[in-house]
């Protein structure tokens, strides 16, 4: 179970990790995109970190929705609407709640992915964040269903996301600016999949650290 206070800590920790990886993400994006992924995400999550300072006592839905709106208005590019939509959809599942159950977490994860698919009109195999997210969600769901607990599920999800990032090296981009490169994008890992992995890793590390 994750309560609203821990939810704020997790999101603020994401902001710290994104800042640490700002240059890595930007370099990955320079290779196959337009070189702004790290800069934009850092700008957005730094604003989120600030915004959440006064929101520890709000419900999880409000916290996630504030995160979403801040990302949408600060990040720009493709990742702003995509991450914004993901957090917004996840927030709708826990509107008014101060606790996130395992069951909620599965629904939130699913809703976030549906939002990204709809907004980005992308699918698995297009060399996008979905190549990290979808396998992560699948293992997350089966692990929860097998009653192995949230921590194990989060750890396995982060591992699957990492494998997803590796997988993006082997395929050509079909979405975003990287798609203009065609086969020249093969060999490079997708920056969006990478930031997604980093976010999931923060969640899994946070839960592991607490237990």
């Amino acid at each position: 179970m994750i309560d609203h206070i821990r939810l704020v800590s997790i999101i603020q920790e994401i902001a710290v990790v994104i800042k640490e990886n700002k240059e890595l993400l930007t370099e990955l994006d320079q290779a196959i995109g337009d070189g702004d992924h790290g800069i934009n995400l850092d700008r957005g999550f730094s604003a989120v970190k600030e915004k959440l300072n006064g929101l520890q006592n709000k419900d999880c839905g409000t916290i996630l929705n504030t995160t979403a709106m801040t990302l949408i208005s600060k990040v720009g590019g493709a990742s702003g609407p995509l991450y914004g939509t993901a957090f917004m959809r996840a927030g709708q599942i826990v509107a008014g709640k101060t606790q996130i159950t395992e069951e909620d977490a599965v629904k939130m994860f699913d809703a976030a992915i549906q939002g990204i698919v709809l907004r980005g009109k992308a699918n698995k195999g297009d060399k996008t964040m979905l190549d990290a997210l979808i396998p992560a969600f699948e293992i997350f769901k089966t692990t929860i269903e097998a009653n192995e607990g949230l921590n194990t599920a989060a750890t396995k999800a982060a591992e699957a996301a990492k494998e997803g990032v590796e997988y993006t090296k082997t395929i050509a981009a079909k979405k975003g600016r990287a798609s203009y490169l065609g086969d020249r994008s093969i060999g490079h890992q997708d920056p969006g999949a990478t930031s997604t992995y980093l976010i999931l890793k923060v969640v899994s590390d946070f839960l592991a650290k607490e237990n």
């Binding site: 320079q30 070189g35 934009n40 590019g77 609407p81 995509l82 079909k174 600016r177 203009y180 065609g182």
Partner: protein
């Protein structure tokens, strides 16, 4: 990085302030937003046109805000599409009651952010606000396919601003202006190349590197790499390659065209005219008549050296609208 800036984070804001100070008769800035609108916005009873995108392409798009072209321009961070809240503010500020048309360059982020802005407008239930959009995808360097993002919007976008802007100024309805814009999009093709990369201020490093004797062909206006890298050739050879790619895409035979030779920011106007000379020779050989020519920096990519060539196939309606008066900071004709 060697740039005339103060703080990489403030480049866009400081630029916008500078634009407003230089052209107060043309534009004003919406307070608290990186949005420029006409000084007399909203223009009552006229379809309003907005465009926008990442900054770094000046004079696009703020330079084309004025009579006969755009009503508003939304400036994102450098090479980053603007956010939905900013676009939404622009839509509201230019709405003169006859509807608002967004001219979007085909990039995943731009399309998504403009789409979200439209959803915000819907959610607020602004009843007298009719909105529509068109997506420009003139770059023939990128393969068109339903399975990918599709072609990019580059310098040809300026022709949409000009022609759809004239249509709106003539009093056409939102539906009619959109049809005109779509006709231009269907008939405009571009392709570019670069000799040097460019550096996004906040990144501090060039987006790619090129050897002394190398050029990047078919690249985009955000420093994203092109379709291939080649050994540098003469202006005539490069022009021939670009024009051939454009002519292979749609049938220009026996047609009249508007030509745009666009500089990417770091190329002397002298070289653009050298390219234009060759464009004329090639088109003359093919029996394609040039109706109008624009040479200059219209859609740049920061300090990148390079150029793009755009050909717009014209009919009588497009010719008339292209000839119509326009008065903006970066494009004036009487």
């Amino acid at each position: 990085m060697k740039k005339l800036i103060n703080n990489p984070e403030l480049v866009v804001e400081e630029m916008l302030e500078g634009i407003v100070k230089a052209h107060p008769n043309y534009v004003k800035q919406l307070e608290g937003f990186n949005v420029l609108v006409r000084a007399n916005a909203p223009v009552k009873g006229k379809v309003a046109l907005i465009s926008g995108g990442g900054s770094g392409h000046e004079p696009s798009h703020g330079g084309f805000v004025g009579k006969g072209m755009l009503d508003g321009a939304v400036a994102g961070a450098v090479f980053t599409s603007p956010t939905p809240d900013q676009i939404f503010e622009a839509i509201k500020a230019v709405n003169g009651g006859a509807g608002v048309l967004s001219i979007i360059k085909n990039y995943t982020g731009d399309v998504m952010n403009f789409e979200m802005a439209a959803e915000m407008a819907e959610m607020e239930g602004l009843e007298d606000l009719e909105i529509a959009s068109v997506v420009v995808d003139d770059d023939v360097a990128v393969e068109n396919s339903t399975w990918t993002t599709g072609r990019r919007g580059i310098a040809g976008t300026v022709f949409i601003h000009k022609i759809a802007g004239a249509a709106a100024e003539k009093g056409m309805s939102l539906r009619e202006v959109k049809e005109v814009a779509e006709k231009v999009i269907a008939n405009v093709r571009s392709m570019g190349m670069s000799l040097t990369p460019c550096t996004v201020p906040a990144a501090g490093k060039p987006s790619f590197t090129l050897g002394e004797n190398e050029m990047e062909v078919g690249l985009g206006i955000h420093g994203e790499p092109g379709t291939h890298r080649d050994e540098i050739k003469t202006a005539d050879e490069i022009t021939t390659h670009l024009v051939d790619k454009i002519l292979a895409d749609i049938d220009y035979s026996n047609s009249e065209v508007a030509v745009m030779v666009n500089g990417l920011g770091g190329t002397p106007i002298m070289e653009l005219y050298v390219i234009n000379k060759k464009v004329n020779e090639i088109l003359a050989e093919k029996g394609i008549k040039i109706y109008k020519t624009l040479v200059g920096n219209y859609m740049t990519s920061l300090e990148m050296a390079g150029a793009s060539i755009t050909l717009l196939k014209l009919d009588e309606q497009l010719k008339e609208l292209l000839d119509a008066a326009a008065d903006t900071p970066a494009f004036t004709q009487f």
